[in-house]
């Protein structure tokens, strides 16, 4: 038991290091986020009033799609080189190592997405009052989405062409996060309080923290042994 925290930090540091070595994989979802958001005014016209009204929803939907893009990479390389099997047969609790992996993944993908969102908010002329809501809701939301998405990634890691399938099985599970995240930003844009939405997002995150790593661990056992 005394050793499991060290496995946690070791996994965490290793994954983070790997993520920063493969900068392309880290940057691609961000570029997608940027380009996809730029497509919106091109499709709808540069009407500021309209953009302002749809910005909260569009920003959240695009952020959600961007997180889906990198999910397939979460376990892929570890599965290919056998690291996953090592983790599975190690005596340490799988729950903690899964948590470490997801945390590293979130720092490498979710956090940059959230840091970039204000810039895109400016492009969509989001009202200035909504930026704090946008960042804080994305901060909690991307963490919850990483945890839930990890289950999908673990289920499909044994498949050669798992990429599209992940989106298919994970997207319906993101529905509550999207609803409350986008609503927080929309309320803030109108000058209303948004603490309730953040509280619900926080509750979803806590539930995901408790349950998702367990499901991820179970799914990996199935995928790797099968």
């Amino acid at each position: 038991m005394a050793k499991s925290p060290s496995l946690f930090t070791a996994t965490f540091r290793r994954d983070l290091l790997l993520a920063f070595r493969h900068k392309g994989e880290m940057i691609n979802p961000l570029v997608f986020f940027l380009i996809a958001i730029s497509m919106i005014p091109l499709g709808l016209g540069p009407d500021k009033e309209l953009l302002m009204r749809i910005a909260p929803g569009i920003l959240w939907v695009m952020a959600l799609l961007a997180t889906l893009l990198s999910l397939d990479n979460l376990f892929r390389s570890d599965f290919d080189d056998g690291t996953l099997e090592q983790l599975l047969i190690s005596p340490h609790p799988l729950y903690l190592s899964m948590l470490a992996k997801v945390l590293a993944y979130w720092i490498a993908t979710g956090l940059p997405l959230m840091l970039m969102s204000p810039l895109l908010g400016v492009m969509l002329s989001l009202p200035s009052g909504a930026f704090i809501a946008l960042c804080s809701s994305l901060l909690i939301g991307t963490a919850a989405m990483s945890l839930i998405g990890a289950v999908g990634a673990a289920l499909t890691v044994g498949l050669r062409k798992g990429g599209l399938l992940i989106s298919l099985i994970v997207m319906p599970l993101y529905v509550p996060i999207l609803i409350f995240g986008a609503s927080a930003v929309a309320e803030a844009a109108q000058g209303n309080p948004f603490t309730m939405q953040l509280a619900v997002l926080g509750a979803i995150l806590i539930m995901a923290l408790l349950l998702a790593p367990l499901a991820t661990a179970g799914a990996l056992r199935v995928s790797v042994n099968g």
Binding site: V151, G158, L168, L173, P176, I179, S223, G226
Partner: protein, 254 residues
Amino acid sequence: MNWQWFHRLGSPRWFYEKTDAWVPWLIIFAWGLLLTGTIWGLGFAPMDAKQKDSYRILYVHAPVAFISMACYYLMAIAGAIGLIWKMKLPYMVMKSAAPIGFAFTVIVLATGSIWGRPTWGTWWEWDGRMTSYLVLSFLYLGVIALQNAFQSRDTADKASAILALVGTVNIPIIYKSVDWWYTLHQPATLKLVGKSTIHVSMLYPLFTMIAGFYVFFTLVLILFTRTEILRRESKTQWVKDLAAGNARKEEVAQ
């Protein structure tokens, strides 16, 4: 306590032979109830004062809506039993439940949107209930897609069981959040259809249809499972005997 019945339940052959006698009766009961309820609901139930005759869609919409939700839980429970006790039969039930549940959500969405035309004036309304069922149909599609993606049947079973369980935890949250989302965005014009008081004579055909759809669901689940059993046990002697027996019967007929 005697656990023999429980282990028997895990035997596909026992299930197949046991349900052999049930199927004709279930067909008679299910279709009898459904046809009675349909005729009753279409022709003999009194007209609703507010929604006029279009409320008669309720008789096929509401029972299916309820069962399509219950079916997801049944699928997840079957998957959990399969994972915990490592039995073969629950996985087959789980695999069979997915397409049935999906077909039921299609019924709910289609009848709901047809119903929406005379009541709300649109074919599709992002109403809270309808949106929940749309998401539910996506959850079914996910399980079906995952089930079909794997080469190994064992992996496919376990993986989709885990997905179904994850979905089960999510369904109440999805349901609540979509409900909240709808009350937030609900346009005032849609509130014009008030609550109608349901007359008792409208309820009898509804109960008939609910019972009918429950028996029908049981029947179809058993039929799908039986086919799945044959496919998976095709290498076993009893299925070979069954096929050979069929063959012999036809030879005699010729």
